[in-house]
């Protein structure tokens, strides 16, 4: 009794929505990853880039957020594909295989997957060279950790790094950081820990405090929400943390030395613009590093006054070295874990 007119009405509604979109370039869909919008990190950043791109290109766009995003991968991707979307961007990590399978059935639709490489003629994969930005963070931290006269810094050459999980995707950051630190001081001690959790600030705080107790004064986190606890610990102890993904310097002004920013927004914005301009990178892997402004250090608004010019000069030199290819940073994804992290 309720169904029939409902179907009719909604079909009419769907047509209404679809009509203007078809007029100029088919609409784009952005599928949010499991952690959802409001994570102040990965999803929010990509979403911001998506919104900017829609505004500048005039392409219509929709965002799909669902707690069922993992189990309903195929259903959501196929629904979007059937509904006339021309570009489907997927932020979910567990969608690698589903997107490969769905993309095969819709050769005239463009798919984008982040953080992994999925082969396919109509799929573009976006990966970040997080090791490059982390290397710079390591160069900076290794110099600062023994700098006399800075409040919260001791004389021991000890740093810390906390990863959310032991995986290649996270070890990429960690190895980059260690390599950068060792380029400054080969004898530096970098303590590595894994929180096995991306959403528990209490755990992050505990782990960071343990590292500070052991003589570390700067702790880099790659642990999402767990990392908020690391920054909190740095603030309480008067020590330093290094943020990740977004510019987290403002979370504890003066106690976040810098943040290794990963510009998911830049990636999404660029892809939508390419799509709008009929230049979608079909079947390509887009690798974003320092050169593409895909990763990098934050502007260090709150800490630049305590960082001496010669320290900054070394960071800039390392950056130049990576850009001109004279410095090659170890990439865990393609090279595997180095001996010291096995």
């Amino acid at each position: 009794m309720f169904c029939k007119p409902a179907f009719a009405a909604s079909t009419a509604l769907a047509l209404l929505f679809a009509a203007p979109a078809f007029a100029e370039g088919r609409p784009a869909a952005l599928i949010i990853s499991q952690s959802g919008l409001g994570d102040q990190s990965y999803n929010d950043l990509a979403y911001a880039g998506f919104e900017r791109a829609l505004a500048s290109t005039g392409i219509e766009g929709r965002t799909v957020e669902s707690k069922e995003v993992v189990a309903q991968a195929d259903e959501i991707l196929r629904r979007a594909s059937d509904a006339g979307f021309g570009l489907i961007l997927d932020l979910e990590f567990a969608h690698g295989e589903p997107i490969a399978a769905v993309a095969k059935d819709y050769p005239d639709i463009n798919y984008v997957i982040l953080n992994q490489v999925v082969p396919g003629d109509n799929i573009a994969s976006v990966v970040f060279r997080e090791e490059e930005g982390s290397y710079l963070a390591g160069v900076l931290a290794a110099q600062m950790t023994t700098l006399p006269g800075v409040e919260g810094i001791n004389e021991q050459p000890i740093l810390g790094v906390i990863g959310g999980t032991k995986s290649a995707g996270i070890d990429k950051f960690i190895v980059g950081f260690i390599e950068g630190a060792m380029s400054v001081n080969p004898d530096i001690d970098v303590k590595v820990g894994y929180s096995n959790n991306f959403a528990d600030p209490a755990v992050g705080m505990q782990m960071a405090n343990a590292m500070y107790d052991d003589g570390a004064d700067i702790v880099y986190h790659i642990a999402g929400g767990t990392g908020i606890g690391v920054i909190e610990a740095a603030k309480e102890r008067g020590a330093f943390a290094i943020g990740v993904d977004t510019d987290q310097d403002g979370l504890a002004p003066g106690h976040v030395l810098t943040s290794m920013v990963k510009r998911g927004d830049v990636a999404v914005e660029r892809i939508v613009a390419d799509y709008a301009g009929d230049k979608f990178p079909k079947g390509q892997t887009i690798s974003l590093g320092l050169a593409e402004d895909g990763v990098g250090l934050s502007p260090m608004e709150h800490t630049k006054d305590i960082i001496p010019a010669d320290v900054m000069a070394k960071v800039d030199a390392a950056r130049a070295g990576i850009l001109d290819g004279s410095i090659k940073v170890w990439d865990v994804l393609s090279q595997g874990a180095p001996d010291y992290l096995k």
Binding site: S66, A71, F93, S167, A168, G169
Partner: protein
């Protein structure tokens, strides 16, 4: 008659929820009729959408049934979530390890392992309840956290897929994956197994001795004990059965739509299952309706965003409201009882 009663006890709270939801939608500046129409289309408009809803309902049938069998003897378990997790991980582990096995052998083996894991997971709280009278709500709830923590740790370390960017195991062997009933939809034979279990439960509860024992045990435990029914043993058995069903549900989710164990793959299926069981008052037909309702709402809530600006939060609010109203009785049962009494008085003639 029984089915009609089950349907009405479920649909009445939903009608109230729709009214409250409409008020919320209006307040947020949306047209409730259009939104509900869209939700209907996305949940049941066409075979593909129906398949998607049934696929989303499948794990909820298992957790709903898992809750119902325990509630029947008065054991208020909230442990289906934990059993689901260990069952899923066990199935995934065998599924990507025993790659040499034939799929016809491997799939049943994975399902069996998941079922056994889910069962064993309920053994400690079952024993504690039966032997020591320790409250099962607390123990099963705590075991959920342990199950989630343990599986998450395992897929972060020993069972982590090489090169994976998130916490997940490698994919299970393709031949062990369940057959899709309506490809490309992810509706698999797991749904048929769910239906078969519901039928088995319906038959058992009405026709078998165990069904009677559990009914009496749940309604009047002291009377049941005095009549010679071994209540502690009965509670233990039903809690183990509950774990077995939930573990099987988790294993099917891995061999079905997901194809691997992913940390946090469950959106709280175990807890939604409790709402399904209460909404259904333990009736098998009601469990099916409740699961399809929540499944449809969840899949429609995802894809409706492709066509309208309704935020996902509104769908979550609807789900939450249904859960709240699920526990209210609204006196419908009394109404049915009186009606049945009147009919009997009239010699069975419909008034």
């Amino acid at each position: 008659m029984k089915s009609l009663q089950a349907a009405l006890t479920i649909l009445f709270p939903i009608a109230i929820v729709l009214l409250i939801g409409a008020a919320a939608l209006l307040a947020a500046g949306h047209d409730p009729v259009a939104v509900y129409a869209d939700l209907m289309t996305e949940a049941f408009g066409g075979t593909r959408r129906i398949a998607a809803s049934l696929s989303a309902a499948t794990p909820l049938i298992f957790t709903g049934l898992a809750a119902a069998v325990a509630f029947r003897v008065g054991v208020f378990t909230v442990g289906a979530e934990g059993s689901l997790y260990v069952g899923a991980l066990m199935a995934a582990w065998l599924g990507f390890t025993l790659t040499g096995l034939n799929g016809w052998l491997l799939a049943p083996l994975c399902l069996l392992a998941g079922t056994v894991a889910g069962t064993l997971w309920m053994l400690p709280p079952g024993l504690m309840k039966a032997r020591l009278g320790i409250d099962e709500i607390v123990t099963t709830l705590m075991l959920n956290f342990i199950a989630i923590g343990l599986t998450t740790w395992l897929v972060n370390g020993p069972l982590l897929a090489p090169g994976a960017a998130n916490s997940s195991t490698p994919q299970v062997v393709e031949t062990a994956r369940l057959t899709r009933l309506m490809p490309p939809s992810t509706l698999t034979t797991g749904f048929l197994i769910a239906l078969a279990l519901l039928f088995a439960y319906a038959f058992w509860q009405r026709r078998r001795v165990g069904g009677y024992e559990t009914l009496i045990g749940g309604l009047a435990p002291r009377f049941a004990g005095a009549s010679g029914i071994d209540m502690p043993g009965l509670m233990l058995r039903m809690l183990l059965l509950s774990g077995a069903i939930a573990g099987l549900g988790g294993a099917l989710q891995v061999l079905g739509p997901i194809g691997r164990f992913v940390a946090g793959f469950s959106t709280g299926y175990g807890f939604t299952g409790i709402a399904v069981a209460i909404l259904a008052r333990g009736n098998p037909f009601g469990i099916l309706i409740g699961a399809v309702l929540f499944g449809g709402l969840s899949t429609a809530g995802a894809t409706i965003q492709l066509f309208s600006d309704v935020p996902i939060e509104i769908v979550n609010i609807l789900q939450g409201l249904i859960m709240i109203f699920a526990v209210a009785d609204f006196g419908l049962r009394g109404w049915f009882a009186r009606r049945a009494g009147r009919q009997a008085a009239n010699g069975g003639a419909t008034p």
